[in-house]
């Protein structure tokens, strides 16, 4: 039996707000007080969380809410970019932080040394694209289909092409996408979003002769990859915004976008469940090789948060739901099985991956990119 918080009246109000905000995704079906309904709020421990945007749909899932209530918890969540959570966010009022990378998690524990980090979810970084685009990249030797039928993106070849400023219309025989834009992967804003930071980590490794950058080697590596950020122009601050551009505007605006594998699988699952068609037949998921994993850790700041965090990694039903939202968990093999169920081909194994640099080195590179954005241009 979990201890009650003192101000019960306030919590009851909070509970109502959670019901509306968190279950709102299903509003078009009618009633808004779904999963939480009229369950009594007493005996439920209130948990205040802040999460990276890629976990929003999971945290809004009524089944996720319901299972946690059965386990004795009711939560609210705020959404923020991983870098913000790690550096400036005031976590004083929160029980749990759940950014999208381990570097952010490590940084948070530097600010809150008593907090407990728990590895919880795993998502490889992938590139969502389109069949005609993948074929063009194949022509250029930048992508190929593996023996299992999964598209692989040769990250080294991609970087080399991008550094030479290859344009789509320069690819010979290109009748499907004769556009005068550089061949570039779209990312969310590296200054805000973890996925941008993952891209930075991967590219800096390759630009540094296949070595994780440190304080000495980072500046030179960064100079070589800086254009891949700046040429993109104004960026969606968060990853879900970048993915949404891909889904809604398509090839004309976003021929390639860097996302977590989980986002693509999650979206395919929603399509199947709701009879929608967001993932169309010509959309493909490519795996960068070498690639990089986003290790997602929870940071528990209170005792209640610690117990809550533990459930996320031990409760069978919660793990099942995490898998349905595309995440890899401690339950090996479950992710691939589920992906196949919803029609997404994922590789058997992902071994060619690189490590992330130290938090301070990464932060140093991001700050330099920030400065570059602010520097006066020559236009």
């Amino acid at each position: 039996m979990k201890p009650l918080n003192i101000a019960i009246a306030a919590l009851l109000v909070l509970g109502v707000i959670v019901a509306i905000v968190v279950s709102g995704g299903e509003d078009d079906k009618g009633s808004s007080s779904k999963a939480t309904g009229n369950k009594p709020a007493k005996n439920l421990t209130q948990i205040k969380t802040v999460i990276g945007p890629d976990k929003q749909i999971l945290f809004e899932d009524p089944r996720f809410i319901k299972r946690l209530e059965q386990l004795g918890y009711r939560y609210t969540f705020d959404k923020a970019g991983s870098r913000e959570i790690a550096t400036t966010f005031d976590l004083g009022e929160y029980d749990l932080a759940f950014p999208s990378s381990d570097t952010a998690a490590i940084r948070i524990t530097k600010r809150y040394p008593k907090a407990l980090r728990t590895p919880t979810l795993l998502a490889p970084m992938t590139v969502a694209s389109f069949e005609p685009i993948a074929k063009l990249l194949e022509k250029q030797g930048i992508a190929h289909k593996s023996a299992e039928g999964v598209w692989q993106l040769d990250t080294r070849a991609y970087l080399a092409a991008a550094q030479k400023d290859l344009r789509w219309k320069q690819i010979p025989g290109n009748t499907t996408y004769p556009v005068n834009k550089s061949v570039l992967i779209s990312t969310a804003d590296v200054r805000v979003s973890n996925s941008g930071a993952m891209y930075l980590s991967l590219l800096s490794y390759l630009a540094n002769g296949d070595n994780v950058v440190n304080a000495q080697t980072a500046p030179k590596a960064l100079q070589e990859i800086m254009p891949l950020f700046l040429k993109q122009g104004f960026l969606a601050p968060t990853n879900d915004g970048a993915f949404n551009n891909y889904l809604v505007q398509g090839m004309g605006s976003t021929p390639m976008v860097l996302i977590y594998e989980s986002q693509f699988i999650e979206r395919a699952a929603i399509d199947k469940r709701e009879g929608e068609d967001a993932i169309t037949d010509d959309m493909v998921l490519m795996y960068p090789t070498p690639g990089i994993f986003a290790q997602q850790q929870t940071i528990a700041l209170t005792d209640e948060g610690k117990a809550f965090a533990k459930l996320l990694t031990t409760d069978k039903r919660l793990i099942e739901l995490e898998t349905e939202h595309g995440f890899r968990t401690a339950s090996t093999g479950a992710a691939k099985k589920f992906a196949e169920k919803v029609g997404v081909k994922v590789p058997d194994q992902i071994v060619d991956v690189v490590d992330t640099p130290d938090y301070d080195v990464l932060e140093g590179m991001i700050k330099k990119i920030e400065d570059e954005y602010k520097r006066n241009s020559d236009l």
Binding site: R191, F234, V248, Q249, G252, L379
Partner: protein, 529 residues
Amino acid sequence: MTRLISFITLLAVAALTATGCAGTGTLGGDTEQRSGLKVLAGSELRDMEPLLGDIEKATGVEMYFEYTGTLDGADAIASGTTDAAFGLFANSKYVQLVAQEQGKSVTATTTMRSPVVFGVKESIAKRNGWDKPTAVVTWKDLADQAAAGKLNYAMSNPSASNSGFSALIGVAAATAGDGNALAADKVDNATLKAFFKGQKLTAGGSGYLADEYLKREGDLDGMINYESVILGLNASGDLDEKLTPVYPTEGLITGDYPLVLVDPAHKDEYNKVITYMKTAAFQKKMMDSTHRRPAWPGTQLSDEFPPNLLIELPFPSKLDVVEKLLFAYLDENSRPSHTYYVLDTSGSMADDERLQLMQQAMNNLTGTDKSGTGRFTRFRNNEQITLVAFDDDVDEPEHFTITTKGANGTVQQQIRDRIDGLDADGGTAIYDGLEVAYEQAMVDRKKQPDLFYSVVLLSDGENTDGQDYDGFADSYRDQYAAAKIPTFPVLFGDSNTGEMQDLAKLTKGKYFDGRENLSAIFKEIRGYQ
């Protein structure tokens, strides 16, 4: 829902009671108390008003719109000088760029989309072969036609409005021969200048531009605006000739209409509204009634949208690129303006600091206003200004040509000296003043026919001397109407509202209410010049 009674509203109420004006309620601004949350909105979003009821029904959140141009709204939001709860403009990028500079972040969620397109009259599109779905039309093609004098169009002022700015980026990218984010590449100013030769009408907002287009449809070949505005006009039956939307193939810019949370105290209402606006039910209703594209997966694009692959151009990521492009447009590439300021210096202007308010408003335009909107509304390089001061007599028109950028030129100082030297004394001969301005404009226009001509009239009371309104109206119809020079009357003090409105209608201009904030209105009018 608590109502926010803003300081501005209090001022407005005070101003109205002080002047004894009957307040027709049609004059906009904060003259009425509205209930619900205030949303600063772009002028083309009037078509959303019927949907506010649906949103309220589904979420319990009541909202009302207050319309402004994109830059004015962005400035107010970025500087924290608005009491609005939310903002809804075609893009929030300017707000986000400014916030980034300040190290802040902005909560914004896309709600609907519309690309900026070139709407060309059907007959002209047909003649050029631009109406076929397989047609390949580039910004360069459009620029060539404009330069040759074969494509006269309306486009909103890029420094005030996003649709004009999107077109500016499109043409700049196309002429730079580069589809990437504009950076250090040389922008081809000569081609830009050629393109803007065709811009014959401007306004301070996309919705307002559509209004102005309807007034002058006969003189124009098309309009640059959001696809939704073009499709909406076509469906309305208000056009004499429908417009064919053209999608330039180098790329275009899509407004993604992010709802911005301006006041964090309303975060809960914001979340409710966003959750509802994301639903397929709302997205479909929105698409069908406003002709905008869905912003969220789960809604099929309806048949009225062409199936073309639209190439999206990147928006600049640096604030200074945005500003450089805008200043180049204002000072070098756009058609220069010649503006006639007809200013009342009668005895009543000595009351209530009216003369000082006018002097402040005029001097701000010489570049002393360093705010975001101030910098973009100042008099431009190569612009001509003619001051026509009147009381019971009309002074000799005084002419100035700006020869430098910024506020430090000698000419800008000369204008300030002249304005500061005005004093308030005597009667009011409004229509003689106007006649003098128009006579002068006709002479000037004969020598330089290619400039943007317009008249701004500021008077604080009834006409007491010289000819009356009807006398001027007769002259206008006989001698000046063919030149199509609009008057922008500014309501001020005890203006005869009815006559000012008639004057705007007569000259196909637009009237503005300067009784709350004259400086802001003078800046707003700049978007139309």
